[in-house]
Protein backbone atom coordinates (compact mmCIF):
# COMPACT_ATOMS: atom_id res chain seq x y z
CA UNK A 1 0.00 0.00 0.00
CA UNK A 2 1.30 3.53 -0.69
CA UNK A 3 -0.12 7.03 -0.43
CA UNK A 4 1.27 8.44 -3.65
CA UNK A 5 4.41 8.11 -5.75
CA UNK A 6 7.75 8.42 -3.96
CA UNK A 7 11.23 7.24 -4.97
CA UNK A 8 10.60 3.94 -3.19
CA UNK A 9 7.44 3.38 -5.25
CA UNK A 10 9.27 4.28 -8.47
CA UNK A 11 12.20 1.98 -7.64
CA UNK A 12 9.89 -0.86 -6.72
CA UNK A 13 7.72 -0.55 -9.83
CA UNK A 14 10.68 -0.30 -12.20
CA UNK A 15 12.70 -3.02 -10.43
CA UNK A 16 15.55 -0.84 -9.23
CA UNK A 17 17.37 -2.49 -6.34
CA UNK A 18 19.58 -0.74 -3.77
CA UNK A 19 22.54 -1.74 -5.97
CA UNK A 20 21.16 0.17 -8.96
CA UNK A 21 22.85 3.49 -8.31
CA UNK A 22 25.76 5.39 -9.84
CA UNK A 23 29.19 4.01 -8.95
CA UNK A 24 30.68 7.46 -8.35
CA UNK A 25 33.69 6.26 -10.35
CA UNK A 26 32.77 7.42 -13.86
CA UNK A 27 32.33 10.73 -15.70
CA UNK A 28 28.65 9.95 -16.05
CA UNK A 29 26.26 12.89 -15.63
CA UNK A 30 22.68 13.97 -16.25
CA UNK A 31 20.81 17.28 -16.42
CA UNK A 32 17.32 18.68 -16.15
CA UNK A 33 16.00 21.88 -17.64
CA UNK A 34 12.76 23.81 -17.28
CA UNK A 35 12.10 27.29 -18.57
CA UNK A 36 9.50 28.61 -16.19
CA UNK A 37 11.72 31.07 -14.32
CA UNK A 38 11.59 28.67 -11.39
CA UNK A 39 14.29 28.04 -8.79
CA UNK A 40 15.05 24.89 -6.87
CA UNK A 41 16.57 24.88 -3.40
CA UNK A 42 19.34 22.51 -2.35
CA UNK A 43 17.70 22.46 1.08
CA UNK A 44 14.52 21.03 -0.46
CA UNK A 45 16.56 18.32 -2.16
CA UNK A 46 18.28 17.45 1.11
CA UNK A 47 14.93 17.32 2.92
CA UNK A 48 13.40 15.21 0.14
CA UNK A 49 16.24 12.70 0.32
CA UNK A 50 16.01 12.68 4.10
CA UNK A 51 12.33 11.82 3.82
CA UNK A 52 12.40 9.46 0.84
CA UNK A 53 15.98 8.52 0.04
CA UNK A 54 16.78 6.20 2.90
CA UNK A 55 16.83 2.98 0.86
CA UNK A 56 19.39 3.91 -1.81
CA UNK A 57 22.74 5.68 -2.07
CA UNK A 58 22.13 9.17 -3.41
CA UNK A 59 23.59 12.65 -3.72
CA UNK A 60 22.01 15.55 -1.88
CA UNK A 61 23.34 18.44 -3.88
CA UNK A 62 23.53 19.52 -7.47
CA UNK A 63 26.92 19.22 -9.16
CA UNK A 64 26.49 22.23 -11.44
CA UNK A 65 23.91 24.97 -11.84
CA UNK A 66 24.00 26.58 -15.27
CA UNK A 67 22.51 30.05 -15.20
CA UNK A 68 21.56 31.97 -12.12
CA UNK A 69 19.78 30.43 -9.14
CA UNK A 70 17.71 33.13 -7.55
CA UNK A 71 16.79 33.39 -3.91
CA UNK A 72 13.07 33.47 -4.56
CA UNK A 73 10.60 30.76 -3.66
CA UNK A 74 11.32 27.37 -5.14
CA UNK A 75 9.10 26.31 -8.02
CA UNK A 76 7.33 22.95 -7.81
CA UNK A 77 8.40 21.96 -11.34
CA UNK A 78 12.07 22.73 -10.69
CA UNK A 79 11.91 20.85 -7.39
CA UNK A 80 10.17 17.86 -8.99
CA UNK A 81 12.68 17.66 -11.87
CA UNK A 82 15.70 17.61 -9.60
CA UNK A 83 14.27 15.32 -6.92
CA UNK A 84 13.12 12.56 -9.26
CA UNK A 85 16.05 12.75 -11.69
CA UNK A 86 18.33 12.20 -8.70
CA UNK A 87 16.12 9.44 -7.27
CA UNK A 88 15.90 7.36 -10.43
CA UNK A 89 19.43 8.24 -11.58
CA UNK A 90 20.71 8.00 -8.02
CA UNK A 91 24.28 8.89 -7.09
CA UNK A 92 25.02 10.33 -10.55
CA UNK A 93 26.40 13.84 -11.03
CA UNK A 94 23.46 16.10 -11.85
CA UNK A 95 23.34 19.52 -13.49
CA UNK A 96 20.41 21.94 -13.38
CA UNK A 97 19.81 24.44 -16.12
CA UNK A 98 18.28 27.42 -14.42
CA UNK A 99 17.46 30.50 -16.43
CA UNK A 100 16.34 33.09 -13.87
CA UNK A 101 18.42 36.18 -14.24
CA UNK A 102 18.44 35.96 -18.01
CA UNK A 103 17.73 39.22 -19.83
CA UNK A 104 14.06 40.10 -20.32
CA UNK A 105 14.44 40.04 -24.09
CA UNK A 106 15.82 36.51 -24.20
CA UNK A 107 13.86 33.31 -24.81
CA UNK A 108 14.83 30.81 -22.07
CA UNK A 109 14.52 27.71 -24.27
CA UNK A 110 16.59 29.34 -27.03
CA UNK A 111 19.25 30.31 -24.50
CA UNK A 112 19.46 26.65 -23.47
CA UNK A 113 20.02 25.67 -27.11
CA UNK A 114 22.82 28.23 -27.37
CA UNK A 115 24.39 26.70 -24.27
CA UNK A 116 24.38 23.28 -25.97
CA UNK A 117 26.30 24.88 -28.84
CA UNK A 118 28.79 26.55 -26.57
CA UNK A 119 29.81 23.84 -24.08
CA UNK A 120 32.07 21.00 -25.19
CA UNK A 121 31.53 18.90 -22.07
CA UNK A 122 27.85 18.36 -21.34
CA UNK A 123 25.90 15.70 -19.43
CA UNK A 124 24.94 12.62 -21.47
CA UNK A 125 21.21 12.70 -20.60
CA UNK A 126 19.03 15.85 -20.64
CA UNK A 127 15.43 15.79 -19.41
CA UNK A 128 13.40 18.79 -20.54
CA UNK A 129 9.91 19.81 -19.50
CA UNK A 130 8.92 22.26 -22.20
CA UNK A 131 6.43 22.23 -25.03
CA UNK A 132 4.39 24.53 -27.23
CA UNK A 133 1.61 23.82 -29.69
CA UNK A 134 3.23 23.11 -33.08
CA UNK A 135 0.84 25.53 -34.79
CA UNK A 136 1.88 28.47 -32.58
CA UNK A 137 5.51 28.35 -33.74
CA UNK A 138 6.96 29.53 -37.04
CA UNK A 139 8.12 26.78 -39.37
CA UNK A 140 11.59 28.31 -39.65
CA UNK A 141 11.91 28.23 -35.84
CA UNK A 142 10.67 24.62 -35.58
CA UNK A 143 13.02 23.41 -38.33
CA UNK A 144 16.00 25.19 -36.80
CA UNK A 145 15.35 23.85 -33.31
CA UNK A 146 15.02 20.39 -34.83
CA UNK A 147 18.49 20.85 -36.37
CA UNK A 148 19.84 21.71 -32.93
CA UNK A 149 18.56 18.33 -31.72
CA UNK A 150 20.35 16.68 -34.66
CA UNK A 151 23.58 18.38 -33.54
CA UNK A 152 23.02 17.04 -30.01
CA UNK A 153 22.31 13.52 -31.31
CA UNK A 154 25.50 13.59 -33.43
CA UNK A 155 27.41 14.28 -30.19
CA UNK A 156 25.82 11.32 -28.35
CA UNK A 157 23.56 13.38 -26.09
CA UNK A 158 20.20 11.83 -25.14
CA UNK A 159 17.38 14.40 -25.20
CA UNK A 160 14.16 13.46 -23.37
CA UNK A 161 11.12 15.73 -23.71
CA UNK A 162 7.82 15.54 -21.86
CA UNK A 163 5.03 14.64 -24.28
CA UNK A 164 2.68 17.25 -22.78
CA UNK A 165 -0.31 17.15 -20.41
CA UNK A 166 -3.24 17.79 -22.73
CA UNK A 167 -3.67 14.33 -24.20
CA UNK A 168 -4.06 14.56 -27.98
CA UNK A 169 -4.83 18.28 -27.62
CA UNK A 170 -7.61 19.97 -29.53
CA UNK A 171 -8.11 23.02 -31.68
CA UNK A 172 -10.48 24.20 -34.36
CA UNK A 173 -9.25 24.57 -37.94
CA UNK A 174 -11.76 26.21 -40.34
CA UNK A 175 -14.57 25.28 -38.00
CA UNK A 176 -13.55 21.64 -37.64
CA UNK A 177 -11.91 20.11 -34.57
CA UNK A 178 -8.49 18.52 -34.88
CA UNK A 179 -5.95 17.12 -32.44
CA UNK A 180 -3.11 19.53 -31.59
CA UNK A 181 0.45 18.12 -31.62
CA UNK A 182 3.14 19.60 -29.37
CA UNK A 183 6.74 20.59 -30.16
CA UNK A 184 9.59 19.67 -29.32
CA UNK A 185 7.75 16.43 -28.39
CA UNK A 186 7.09 15.94 -32.12
CA UNK A 187 10.73 16.30 -33.16
CA UNK A 188 12.03 13.08 -34.75
CA UNK A 189 15.41 13.61 -33.05
CA UNK A 190 14.31 13.51 -29.41
CA UNK A 191 12.86 10.77 -27.23
CA UNK A 192 9.42 11.76 -25.99
CA UNK A 193 8.04 10.56 -22.65
CA UNK A 194 4.32 10.06 -21.97
CA UNK A 195 2.51 9.37 -18.70
CA UNK A 196 0.85 6.50 -16.86
CA UNK A 197 -1.08 5.93 -13.64
CA UNK A 198 -1.35 2.90 -11.39
CA UNK A 199 -4.47 0.89 -12.04
CA UNK A 200 -5.06 1.11 -8.27
CA UNK A 201 -3.66 4.47 -7.09
CA UNK A 202 -2.64 3.03 -3.74
CA UNK A 203 -0.93 -0.17 -4.87
CA UNK A 204 2.23 -0.82 -6.88
CA UNK A 205 0.47 -2.71 -9.65
CA UNK A 206 0.41 -2.60 -13.44
CA UNK A 207 0.13 0.78 -15.12
CA UNK A 208 -2.62 2.19 -17.27
CA UNK A 209 -2.74 5.33 -19.39
CA UNK A 210 -2.76 8.64 -17.54
CA UNK A 211 -5.49 10.47 -19.46
CA UNK A 212 -3.35 13.62 -19.70
CA UNK A 213 -0.47 11.87 -21.48
CA UNK A 214 0.44 13.91 -24.57
CA UNK A 215 0.60 12.00 -27.83
CA UNK A 216 -0.30 11.96 -31.49
CA UNK A 217 1.13 12.77 -34.92
CA UNK A 218 3.14 15.78 -36.06
CA UNK A 219 1.74 18.12 -38.70
CA UNK A 220 5.27 19.34 -39.45
CA UNK A 221 7.61 16.33 -39.48
CA UNK A 222 7.05 13.23 -41.66
CA UNK A 223 7.31 9.84 -39.99
CA UNK A 224 10.98 8.86 -39.53
CA UNK A 225 11.95 5.47 -40.98
CA UNK A 226 12.88 4.03 -37.58
CA UNK A 227 9.22 4.03 -36.46
CA UNK A 228 7.52 3.18 -39.78
CA UNK A 229 6.84 -0.48 -38.92
CA UNK A 230 5.62 0.14 -35.35
CA UNK A 231 3.28 2.99 -36.25
CA UNK A 232 1.87 1.30 -39.34
CA UNK A 233 1.10 -1.72 -37.19
CA UNK A 234 -0.74 0.45 -34.65
CA UNK A 235 -2.75 2.24 -37.35
CA UNK A 236 -3.76 -1.05 -38.93
CA UNK A 237 -4.71 -2.83 -35.72
CA UNK A 238 -6.03 -0.33 -33.17
CA UNK A 239 -9.76 -0.93 -32.61
CA UNK A 240 -10.30 2.60 -31.26
CA UNK A 241 -8.89 4.94 -33.92
CA UNK A 242 -10.38 8.45 -33.93
CA UNK A 243 -11.73 9.84 -37.23
CA UNK A 244 -8.77 10.26 -39.60
CA UNK A 245 -9.65 13.92 -40.13
CA UNK A 246 -8.44 14.63 -36.59
CA UNK A 247 -4.78 13.80 -37.17
CA UNK A 248 -2.02 13.53 -39.78
CA UNK A 249 -1.46 9.76 -39.99
CA UNK A 250 1.81 10.22 -41.96
CA UNK A 251 3.42 12.46 -39.34
CA UNK A 252 6.12 11.69 -36.76
CA UNK A 253 4.21 9.82 -34.07
CA UNK A 254 4.94 10.27 -30.39
CA UNK A 255 5.52 9.53 -27.49
CA UNK A 256 8.24 6.89 -27.71
CA UNK A 257 8.14 5.72 -24.07
CA UNK A 258 6.35 6.54 -20.81
CA UNK A 259 6.59 6.44 -17.03
CA UNK A 260 4.36 7.20 -14.05
CA UNK A 261 3.01 10.77 -14.19
CA UNK A 262 0.34 10.71 -11.49
CA UNK A 263 0.33 11.47 -7.78
CA UNK A 264 3.94 12.37 -6.94
CA UNK A 265 5.23 13.62 -3.60
CA UNK A 266 7.51 16.67 -4.01
CA UNK A 267 9.35 18.79 -1.43
CA UNK A 268 9.29 22.47 -2.34
CA UNK A 269 9.97 25.41 0.00
CA UNK A 270 10.43 22.85 2.81
CA UNK A 271 6.90 21.51 2.39
CA UNK A 272 6.09 17.95 1.26
CA UNK A 273 3.39 18.31 -1.41
CA UNK A 274 1.29 15.30 -2.59
CA UNK A 275 -0.64 14.49 -5.79
CA UNK A 276 1.65 16.38 -8.19
CA UNK A 277 0.97 15.10 -11.71
CA UNK A 278 2.21 15.65 -15.23
CA UNK A 279 4.63 14.29 -17.82
CA UNK A 280 7.15 16.70 -16.29
CA UNK A 281 7.36 13.97 -13.62
CA UNK A 282 7.66 10.94 -15.88
CA UNK A 283 10.45 12.52 -17.95
CA UNK A 284 13.12 12.85 -15.23
CA UNK A 285 12.24 9.35 -13.97
CA UNK A 286 12.88 7.84 -17.39
CA UNK A 287 15.97 10.02 -17.79
CA UNK A 288 17.44 8.85 -14.49
CA UNK A 289 17.00 5.22 -15.52
CA UNK A 290 18.80 5.87 -18.81
CA UNK A 291 21.62 7.46 -16.81
CA UNK A 292 21.95 4.23 -14.82
CA UNK A 293 22.24 2.32 -18.11
CA UNK A 294 24.88 4.80 -19.28
CA UNK A 295 26.73 4.10 -16.03
CA UNK A 296 26.95 0.41 -16.91
CA UNK A 297 27.92 1.17 -20.51
CA UNK A 298 30.69 3.52 -19.43
CA UNK A 299 32.00 0.97 -16.89
CA UNK A 300 31.99 -1.58 -19.75
CA UNK A 301 34.00 0.80 -21.92
CA UNK A 302 31.04 1.39 -24.22
CA UNK A 303 29.89 4.83 -25.50
CA UNK A 304 26.80 6.45 -23.92
CA UNK A 305 23.37 5.71 -25.41
CA UNK A 306 23.03 8.91 -27.44
CA UNK A 307 19.88 9.31 -29.59
CA UNK A 308 17.84 6.38 -28.29
CA UNK A 309 14.98 5.98 -30.76
CA UNK A 310 16.63 3.80 -33.45
CA UNK A 311 17.66 1.25 -30.77
CA UNK A 312 14.29 1.44 -29.06
CA UNK A 313 12.25 0.76 -32.18
CA UNK A 314 14.63 -1.89 -33.53
CA UNK A 315 14.19 -3.80 -30.29
CA UNK A 316 10.39 -3.40 -30.50
CA UNK A 317 10.32 -2.00 -26.98
CA UNK A 318 12.12 -4.92 -25.34
CA UNK A 319 12.81 -4.09 -21.68
CA UNK A 320 9.68 -1.97 -21.30
CA UNK A 321 6.38 -2.79 -19.59
CA UNK A 322 3.78 -2.56 -22.35
CA UNK A 323 0.79 -0.39 -21.31
CA UNK A 324 -2.35 -1.66 -23.01
CA UNK A 325 -5.22 -0.12 -21.06
CA UNK A 326 -6.66 3.37 -21.22
CA UNK A 327 -7.04 6.31 -23.56
CA UNK A 328 -5.95 9.93 -23.31
CA UNK A 329 -8.15 13.04 -23.51
CA UNK A 330 -8.88 15.15 -26.58
CA UNK A 331 -11.73 17.25 -28.03
CA UNK A 332 -14.93 17.50 -26.04
CA UNK A 333 -17.47 17.07 -28.83
CA UNK A 334 -20.10 14.64 -30.03
CA UNK A 335 -17.76 12.97 -32.48
CA UNK A 336 -14.87 11.89 -30.23
CA UNK A 337 -16.43 12.67 -26.82
CA UNK A 338 -13.19 13.72 -25.21
CA UNK A 339 -11.29 10.58 -26.20
CA UNK A 340 -8.10 10.73 -28.23
CA UNK A 341 -5.97 7.64 -28.96
CA UNK A 342 -6.02 4.50 -26.87
CA UNK A 343 -3.10 2.35 -25.80
CA UNK A 344 -2.71 -1.17 -27.19
CA UNK A 345 -0.22 -4.02 -27.53
CA UNK A 346 3.21 -2.78 -28.68
CA UNK A 347 3.79 0.86 -29.62
CA UNK A 348 0.89 3.36 -29.33
CA UNK A 349 0.60 7.18 -29.49
CA UNK A 350 -0.30 7.44 -25.79
CA UNK A 351 2.48 5.56 -23.97
CA UNK A 352 4.85 4.67 -26.82
CA UNK A 353 6.51 1.30 -26.15
CA UNK A 354 5.74 1.54 -22.42
CA UNK A 355 7.49 2.05 -19.09
CA UNK A 356 10.97 0.94 -18.01
CA UNK A 357 11.65 -2.51 -16.51
CA UNK A 358 15.21 -1.70 -15.48
CA UNK A 359 16.95 -5.12 -15.47
CA UNK A 360 15.45 -6.06 -18.84
CA UNK A 361 16.04 -2.60 -20.34
CA UNK A 362 19.64 -2.71 -19.13
CA UNK A 363 20.16 -6.05 -20.84
CA UNK A 364 18.55 -4.74 -24.04
CA UNK A 365 20.58 -1.53 -24.19
CA UNK A 366 23.89 -2.99 -23.09
CA UNK A 367 23.90 -5.01 -26.30
CA UNK A 368 21.58 -3.15 -28.69
Amino acid sequence: LHLGVTPAVIRERYNLTARDVGSGATNNSQACAQFLDQYFHDSDLAKFMHLFGGTFVHQTSIAHVVGKQGRGRAGIEASLDVEYLMSAGANISTWVYSNPGRHEAQEPFLQWLLLLSNESALPYVHTVSYGDDEDSLSSTYIQRVNTEFMKAAARGLTMLFASGDSGAGCWSVSGRHQFRPSFPASSPYVTTVGGTSFQNPFLVTNEIVDYISGGGFSNVFPRPSYQEEAVAKFLSSSPHLPPSSYYNASGRAYPDVAALSDGYWVVSNSIAIPWVSGTSASTPVFGGILSLINEHRILNGQPPLGFLNPSLYQKHGAGLFDVTHGCHESCLNEEVQGQGFCSGPGWDPVTGWGTPNFPDLLKTLLNP
Binding site: L137, S138, Y141, G164
Partner: protein, 176 residues
Protein backbone atom coordinates in the same frame (compact mmCIF):
# COMPACT_ATOMS: atom_id res chain seq x y z
CA UNK B 1 12.56 43.05 -47.17
CA UNK B 2 11.02 39.76 -46.07
CA UNK B 3 9.38 38.33 -42.98
CA UNK B 4 11.35 35.34 -41.59
CA UNK B 5 8.49 34.15 -39.36
CA UNK B 6 5.15 35.02 -40.98
CA UNK B 7 3.50 31.99 -39.32
CA UNK B 8 4.73 32.64 -35.75
CA UNK B 9 1.88 33.24 -33.30
CA UNK B 10 2.07 36.80 -31.97
CA UNK B 11 -0.65 37.05 -29.38
CA UNK B 12 -0.39 38.05 -25.75
CA UNK B 13 -0.75 34.87 -23.63
CA UNK B 14 -3.63 34.91 -21.12
CA UNK B 15 -2.64 36.63 -17.88
CA UNK B 16 0.07 38.83 -19.40
CA UNK B 17 -0.23 42.64 -19.51
CA UNK B 18 1.77 45.34 -21.32
CA UNK B 19 3.63 47.92 -19.26
CA UNK B 20 4.15 50.06 -22.33
CA UNK B 21 6.75 50.62 -24.98
CA UNK B 22 10.44 50.65 -24.11
CA UNK B 23 12.54 53.80 -24.07
CA UNK B 24 14.63 53.91 -27.28
CA UNK B 25 17.86 54.03 -25.26
CA UNK B 26 17.11 50.95 -23.17
CA UNK B 27 19.37 48.00 -23.95
CA UNK B 28 18.14 44.57 -24.99
CA UNK B 29 19.56 41.29 -26.22
CA UNK B 30 18.65 39.61 -29.50
CA UNK B 31 19.67 36.19 -30.81
CA UNK B 32 20.24 35.71 -34.54
CA UNK B 33 19.96 32.15 -35.83
CA UNK B 34 22.41 32.09 -38.73
CA UNK B 35 21.95 29.79 -41.73
CA UNK B 36 23.88 26.54 -41.26
CA UNK B 37 25.52 24.34 -43.90
CA UNK B 38 25.70 20.57 -44.61
CA UNK B 39 22.43 19.63 -42.86
CA UNK B 40 21.99 16.61 -45.12
CA UNK B 41 25.37 15.29 -44.04
CA UNK B 42 24.48 16.01 -40.42
CA UNK B 43 21.35 13.86 -40.79
CA UNK B 44 23.46 11.03 -42.22
CA UNK B 45 25.93 11.31 -39.34
CA UNK B 46 23.09 11.12 -36.80
CA UNK B 47 21.72 8.03 -38.53
CA UNK B 48 25.17 6.38 -38.60
CA UNK B 49 26.12 6.99 -34.95
CA UNK B 50 22.64 6.18 -33.54
CA UNK B 51 21.83 2.94 -35.38
CA UNK B 52 23.17 -0.11 -33.52
CA UNK B 53 23.53 -1.95 -36.85
CA UNK B 54 25.83 0.74 -38.23
CA UNK B 55 29.63 0.27 -38.08
CA UNK B 56 29.83 3.87 -36.80
CA UNK B 57 27.39 3.25 -33.93
CA UNK B 58 28.51 5.19 -30.84
CA UNK B 59 31.34 6.99 -32.64
CA UNK B 60 30.03 10.42 -31.70
CA UNK B 61 31.25 13.82 -32.88
CA UNK B 62 32.78 16.43 -30.60
CA UNK B 63 31.33 19.93 -30.47
CA UNK B 64 34.24 21.07 -32.61
CA UNK B 65 33.46 18.37 -35.22
CA UNK B 66 29.83 19.54 -35.31
CA UNK B 67 31.00 23.15 -35.65
CA UNK B 68 33.20 22.15 -38.59
CA UNK B 69 30.20 20.55 -40.26
CA UNK B 70 27.45 23.13 -39.79
CA UNK B 71 29.35 26.43 -39.40
CA UNK B 72 27.75 29.20 -41.54
CA UNK B 73 29.63 30.25 -44.67
CA UNK B 74 32.15 33.14 -44.48
CA UNK B 75 29.75 35.10 -46.71
CA UNK B 76 26.93 34.65 -44.17
CA UNK B 77 29.13 35.73 -41.27
CA UNK B 78 30.46 38.73 -43.18
CA UNK B 79 27.06 39.86 -44.52
CA UNK B 80 25.35 39.69 -41.11
CA UNK B 81 28.29 41.35 -39.38
CA UNK B 82 28.30 44.25 -41.86
CA UNK B 83 24.53 44.69 -41.53
CA UNK B 84 24.74 44.87 -37.74
CA UNK B 85 27.73 47.22 -37.76
CA UNK B 86 25.79 49.46 -40.14
CA UNK B 87 23.30 50.06 -37.34
CA UNK B 88 26.03 50.49 -34.74
CA UNK B 89 25.45 47.06 -33.13
CA UNK B 90 28.96 45.90 -32.32
CA UNK B 91 28.52 44.13 -28.96
CA UNK B 92 27.90 40.67 -30.41
CA UNK B 93 29.10 37.13 -29.59
CA UNK B 94 29.05 33.90 -31.59
CA UNK B 95 28.67 30.46 -29.99
CA UNK B 96 31.37 27.86 -30.71
CA UNK B 97 29.42 26.43 -33.66
CA UNK B 98 29.08 30.04 -34.97
CA UNK B 99 25.44 29.45 -35.97
CA UNK B 100 23.98 31.62 -33.21
CA UNK B 101 24.90 35.26 -32.69
CA UNK B 102 23.81 37.16 -29.57
CA UNK B 103 23.91 40.96 -29.69
CA UNK B 104 23.36 43.61 -27.05
CA UNK B 105 21.96 46.78 -28.58
CA UNK B 106 19.61 49.68 -27.89
CA UNK B 107 15.91 49.50 -28.62
CA UNK B 108 16.45 52.21 -31.21
CA UNK B 109 19.08 50.14 -33.03
CA UNK B 110 16.93 46.99 -32.78
CA UNK B 111 13.82 48.68 -34.20
CA UNK B 112 16.00 50.15 -36.97
CA UNK B 113 17.39 46.72 -37.90
CA UNK B 114 14.12 44.77 -37.55
CA UNK B 115 11.70 47.01 -39.40
CA UNK B 116 8.17 46.86 -38.05
CA UNK B 117 9.14 45.57 -34.62
CA UNK B 118 7.96 47.54 -31.55
CA UNK B 119 9.43 46.47 -28.22
CA UNK B 120 7.15 46.58 -25.17
CA UNK B 121 7.63 45.35 -21.62
CA UNK B 122 5.14 42.70 -20.49
CA UNK B 123 4.52 41.08 -17.11
CA UNK B 124 2.71 37.83 -16.45
CA UNK B 125 2.83 34.14 -15.58
CA UNK B 126 2.78 32.61 -12.10
CA UNK B 127 6.14 34.16 -11.22
CA UNK B 128 5.10 37.60 -12.50
CA UNK B 129 7.92 37.36 -15.00
CA UNK B 130 8.92 40.50 -16.86
CA UNK B 131 9.83 40.14 -20.54
CA UNK B 132 10.52 42.41 -23.49
CA UNK B 133 8.78 41.32 -26.71
CA UNK B 134 7.31 42.69 -29.93
CA UNK B 135 3.83 41.66 -30.96
CA UNK B 136 4.41 43.46 -34.23
CA UNK B 137 5.97 41.36 -37.01
CA UNK B 138 9.54 42.12 -38.00
CA UNK B 139 11.10 42.23 -41.44
CA UNK B 140 14.70 41.80 -42.53
CA UNK B 141 16.41 43.15 -45.66
CA UNK B 142 15.96 40.74 -48.58
CA UNK B 143 19.77 40.48 -48.79
CA UNK B 144 19.71 38.51 -45.52
CA UNK B 145 17.13 35.94 -46.68
CA UNK B 146 19.80 33.29 -47.31
CA UNK B 147 21.81 34.12 -44.20
CA UNK B 148 19.41 34.39 -41.23
CA UNK B 149 16.85 31.74 -40.20
CA UNK B 150 15.09 33.84 -37.56
CA UNK B 151 15.68 36.35 -34.76
CA UNK B 152 15.00 35.15 -31.21
CA UNK B 153 13.68 37.36 -28.45
CA UNK B 154 10.80 39.01 -30.27
CA UNK B 155 7.64 36.93 -30.31
CA UNK B 156 7.75 33.82 -28.09
CA UNK B 157 6.67 34.25 -24.47
CA UNK B 158 7.98 32.02 -21.63
CA UNK B 159 5.99 28.78 -21.30
CA UNK B 160 3.68 28.10 -18.36
CA UNK B 161 3.76 25.03 -16.18
CA UNK B 162 1.32 22.24 -16.96
CA UNK B 163 1.84 20.34 -13.71
CA UNK B 164 -1.37 19.77 -11.76
CA UNK B 165 -2.22 18.70 -8.26
CA UNK B 166 -4.80 15.97 -8.87
CA UNK B 167 -6.05 14.39 -5.66
CA UNK B 168 -9.40 13.62 -7.30
CA UNK B 169 -8.18 10.41 -8.97
CA UNK B 170 -6.57 9.08 -5.80
CA UNK B 171 -9.49 10.06 -3.57
CA UNK B 172 -11.94 8.55 -6.08
CA UNK B 173 -9.84 5.39 -5.93
CA UNK B 174 -9.98 5.39 -2.13
CA UNK B 175 -13.75 5.88 -2.11
CA UNK B 176 -14.30 3.03 -4.55
Amino acid sequence: SYSPEPDQQRTLPPGWVSLGRLDPEEELSLTFALRQRNLERLAHVVQAVSDPRSPRYGKYLTLEDVAELVRPSPLTLRTVHKWLLGAGAWNCHLVITQDFLTCWLSVRQAELLLSGAEFHRYVGGPAKTSVVRSLQPYQLPQALASHVDFVGGLHRFPPTSTLRQRPERQVAGAVS
